[in-house]
Symmetry: C2
Subunit: 357 residues, 2 copies
DNA sequence: TTGTAGGCGTTATCAT
DNA sequence: ATGATAACGCCTACAA
């Protein structure tokens, strides 16, 4: 009798018993009394195979738990149906939302996604690129990262097409999906101006990052349009995270006279800003109005709920994926897709309090 | 003259010119005047090759931009150096932190990670499992998902070893990493009791989820130890997200007399709870004390900052990865690793206000 | 409609 | 120390 592991019980604990290779196309061929090419065809729903044999083959394949080896297929076809996604860190809520959108779209199209974090560490970035190259990914998506700056050229030439999403340093010729930063910031700042504020601070990200530069430009444009003076002392920079928002805001609180409104580069910074203001014994929006950017879920649950600029994060991931699909199939796409944003007014902004002279 | 953008810069747009195969081991062999086996050995730093030729080969390989094909290697070795990570959604901050830890550890060990979301959708779960099977991943990590419930048996037998992280429905025989839920909750609840509270509500997750069950058990144990009566009307269930926290808390606010403290299943729920309390015109901790669970970054930045139970999320990812590595190499590991948690006392909890009779 | 015969880029086992 | 040669699992002409 057969003494091989457990007959039909199959479920005997044992983690993936190593040494037991999964059935191959040839095994199925043997069972079905056909050649492995026929099996291959049947499994691909080719019309070049008798419908009945095809059904029989698929039947057998299912019963024996057959699964194509994506890697063997990849070797043969030179396409892995795999994309690489590189992010600075997935622990950033903005990034996570975008990646979620990507994953969704990729899954729909039958693509598997490799996730890699660069941690803004050059060495790691190198590893990531190398790794994606070795895995022979069909395409690469980069979100909120600096990778582009250093490796994009080699990436897109030697490895696979690349699409950037809100990247820090976009490179020439790179395909990308970006939010309408300038316009969105202009609108956000104008909102504050419309409420009577004239001493409006800008709390940005690190110097040189594109989103920061663009949002700052929108801020200035709004001031200009309103004929308001630009006050350099009201511009500070955080790090895109709550911590940075705290320290940047503290610097702002030392300026006299104090700003009556702050436009934050992003919601994470705004979160820190909120804390700093509270710790200083002031209130939002009574003493200081606050506007964020991103519309992360936290914006709805902070106290007060944050007026902010909504980025359609998931959809941006989707758009990037679609753009990448086109590139991967050799089509041309718009070099950079600009996505409109929307100002969401909540309770962190209020009319300037009248100050009696 | 050349009118295309930038001449020899090589950066001539053109995404990954399809049709141009990257150099193979044979190409290198030709250039180095050796057999491809020698190249293979040289590239693996085998001692079975003349140091000088090895250096020369590596030199040539580097110059020609050679990159091993992980998929060809996988075919040959039957190991892909790849793991699959399945999550419900990466947009959940807890999940994102864990995955970040996993990615870090995996990268250190030379593993690439496939990320897949199940969205708690059975069909998607099927896809994920199928996809990982086809990609021939060497191991699987499942975090905060229900996947285990349905597919774990087939997963760990037919595909690869599996390790669960804070999974909803752990299955027998499954390896897993879990937080010390019962003890942590007991401590958290005792903290409230120590502040004089006796009407302490429990705001949980969906019925049947293991973390919920365990945390609830810890809550009850604390009451018991203090000789406090268990009040069923003070137990409500959300959905693990802020929205669910809001509605669950509203239900709680209708109970008379009102609870004076609430222990929330997780921080996301607590965020919603905070909002609901505020909207009811009450204050935390003056009117109601609040304890969360997880210690997400939001816990530090809410108003008031949340007293909560810290889970070492990144480290849990790391532990899971290490456990998986052992399983993949055929070693045995503890079936379930219990990670201790830590109560972080901030400002959302305060002594029960004396109520004059 | 089906089978035969490479070939994809590696690793691995032999000889030499 | 090196080179043939054969897998690995699949796809795809080409032949039948």
């Amino acid at each position: 009798m057969n003494q091989s592991p457990a007959p039909d019980i199959a479920h005997v604990c044992s983690a993936a018993t190593p040494g037991v290779r999964s059935p191959s196309i040839k095994d199925i061929a043997r069972l079905a009394n056909v050649s492995h090419s026929t099996v291959s065809r049947a499994l691909q729903n080719s019309t070049l195979v008798n419908p009945e044999t095809a059904t029989r083959i698929r039947q057998i394949a299912r019963q024996s738990g057959y699964r194509v080896s994506a890697i063997a297929r990849g070797l043969a076809t030179n396409k892995t149906h795999t994309i690489g996604v590189v992010v600075t860190t997935i622990a950033d809520p903005f990034v996570a939302e975008v990646v979620s959108g990507i994953e969704d779209a990729a899954n729909d199209r039958g693509y598997s996604v490799f996730l890699a974090e660069s941690n803004a560490d050059p060495q790691r970035e190198k590893n990531v690129v190398q790794s994606f190259a070795e895995q022979r990914v069909d395409g690469i998506l980069v979100t909120s990262s600096r990778v582009g700056a250093l490796y994009l050229p080699s990436l897109s030439e030697l490895i696979a097409p690349v699409v950037l999403i809100n990247n820090h340093h976009p490179t020439a010729f790179a395909h990308s999906v970006m939010i309408e930063n300038v316009e969105a910031s202009r609108v956000a700042t104008s909102h504050l101006i419309g409420l009577g504020h004239t001493r409006i601070a800008y709390l940005g990200d690190q110097f040189g990052y594109q989103s920061d530069t663009e949002r700052f430009a929108g801020y200035r444009r709004a001031l200009e349009q309103a004929g308001l003076p630009f006050l350099p002392e009201l511009v500070v920079h955080g790090d895109g995270k709550p911590e940075g928002g705290v320290s940047a805001m503290r610097r702002l609180l030392d300026v006299v006279p104090r700003p009556t409104a702050v436009f934050c580069y992003n919601d994470m910074s705004a979160l820190g800003t909120l804390l700093a203001i509270r710790q200083a014994g002031l209130r939002v929006p009574t003493d200081i109005s606050l506007v964020g950017f991103d519309d992360l879920f936290v914006a709805s649950y902070s106290d007060p709920p944050l007026t902010t600029v909504r980025q359609p994060m998931r959809q941006m991931g989707l758009l990037a994926m679609e753009s990448l699909l086109k590139l991967m199939s050799g089509q041309k796409t718009a070099d950079t897709i600009r996505v409109p944003a929307e100002l969401i007014v909540r309770q962190s902004t209020a009319p300037l309090r009248e100050i009696l002279p």
